[in-house]
Symmetry: C2
Subunit: 368 residues, 2 copies
Amino acid sequence: MIGFIRYSPLIGHHPQPILCQCAIELPVNVRFLIDGSEETGSELIPELLRELRKDFLVGVDFVAISDNYWLNMDTPCLTYGLRGVIYFYVYVDGSSRVLHSGTHGGAVQNPLVDLEALMCSLVSTNGTILVPGAYSCVRRPTEAELRNFETLDFDPATYAKQIGTDALYSNDKVELLRRRWLLPAVEFHGIEKSFDRIGAPTLIPKSVMGKFSLRIVPDQNPYLMSERFKCYLHQMHYRRCSGNRLRVKSFIDGRAFLADHTCVNYRAAYKALEEVWKKKPDLTRDGATIAMACTLEETTNRDVVLIPMGECQDFQHEARERMSVRNYINGIKVFVSYLCNLSAAIIEDSEDEDMRQEDRDRWRKRFW
Amino acid sequence: MIGFIRYSPLIGHHPQPILCQCAIELPVNVRFLIDGSEETGSELIPELLRELRKDFLVGVDFVAISDNYWLNMDTPCLTYGLRGVIYFYVYVDGSSRVLHSGTHGGAVQNPLVDLEALMCSLVSTNGTILVPGAYSCVRRPTEAELRNFETLDFDPATYAKQIGTDALYSNDKVELLRRRWLLPAVEFHGIEKSFDRIGAPTLIPKSVMGKFSLRIVPDQNPYLMSERFKCYLHQMHYRRCSGNRLRVKSFIDGRAFLADHTCVNYRAAYKALEEVWKKKPDLTRDGATIAMACTLEETTNRDVVLIPMGECQDFQHEARERMSVRNYINGIKVFVSYLCNLSAAIIEDSEDEDMRQEDRDRWRKRFW
């Protein structure tokens, strides 16, 4: 068994201290990977894990990750899917120096408007990605999956209130979850090198850089998607007949992940959540990316379960990141119960399970 | 006579020390206004000057401003027109907190893309302003004016090299000058409050602010233009059906200016430039704005001449702002000669000139 625990430099919002605090003998052997450096793109960790295949990872039967979050504030979740992410830097280089907008305004193509036009050309007003092929290979959800979405403890109005916005693309529960989990999305983060400090300068920037990310879903190929976006941006820039120069860089920070939530690993975690929280957990996917999920699956070739501990209002990645005491205590209990359930499952392991394991091997390998 | 001299906190690029350095007795009385605070929108200076009408400005016959720049590196200029400027802040407010783009990406309308779309909607790919009425009241150039443009010491290829760009809207000399001097222009300066620091955050900004300016030309009304732009931006935002909130603020930082370059004041300055530089100066306009030009014209009701001293490569408003020694020395000579020429002109002042002065009064008053 290997457990990946995300280390937070803020309030410890993931159950690091579980095994130090439970006074019973562990029913299974556990190997820990603490801090997959998710926030900095998990650089070099895949290489390290591939090295560790020879010793540290030998004999691992199950993998558990505790990193993501519940869909709400009250119902525990078990997560079986994640989106991947590609990050883009779009540079538009104009004149060799900043220009006075009075003296030169109207005569020179402004790199900032070129960049803005490029970024706008990526999405329509309803959030649809306009890049040809952006939706190719998107796996269609099964009827059962959409039916499950309908049963989840999620309400668009409450969600809008939680994040404080009037600007949801849809007020329909299933549609909103589909947009967050099953469809690719382009999001804009910022523009560097324009006159972004407080004040009203009248200068034309000489060079600007825009940052956006693309979340991809199963079964999209990140390398193919990255090339499609670059090609499209160059085409759009060419159509504008601008003399400014365009450069696009992309960074593949994680592939999409999808697990079979009927496997032993998930069944053990499901039972543990049910026991501790005294209610059926939601089976969810997550729109975010945890690069380690795919990496651990690939390097161990074992089922990876995602057991989130934090509530949806834990303000992840924000300055006021937090974890409730309730979830912290129950998180410890869930993990103890989960390890006991796994131990029982290993004993009961049947020939039937071996056969199904082969099926899942094939399933997993499609994402590597 | 009143002389307005722009004070530069960097290298003194305007001839402050003229009258301290010439060893002759001045042929006319001179009153100085040193530093019109042009860089900070000349705030409160118009009010001060209106106050000073009672005493300080009484008996002023001519006004000279030395603030702007030559069109090139070799031929002195006399400038008879300026554009005005309106500065806009466009705020798009989204959610009450920044959002994780993985968790929420695709579900929520991103304020940054709303802002980018709004800014793009202002100009076409060839720089034409798309706001209805943006070109209304633009004064048509006379045949004589365009013919004069053809004779000016200006070459688009040299200009492109000077500012270091391949992105001119036109390579035609007259068209380029028309765009810089006679037509309104929208220029984009920056975007505040997005994730503009170095790095690749995957957050959706909660609120962003875009900055752009509009240069207006004679006979455009700044209040009307400002309202037209605000109205258009709100309309465009409404069409996007975005739940994000839009606020637009505008600041009128200066009206357009146009002088009659056949008047005594201009004739005296022209002669002075010709004497010192041993060549006929160019009669130019300038795309930039000097709010003080209109204010001094209004408060004195006298002809205002613009006598630029710096070369076009003096990098105005940049960190490496400079002035050549040649232009500094000759600038002193030009101003001494100009004052002597004015003194002679006052003596020769004819009845004919009085009549023409009335015409010019009417001309000037159209811009106030």
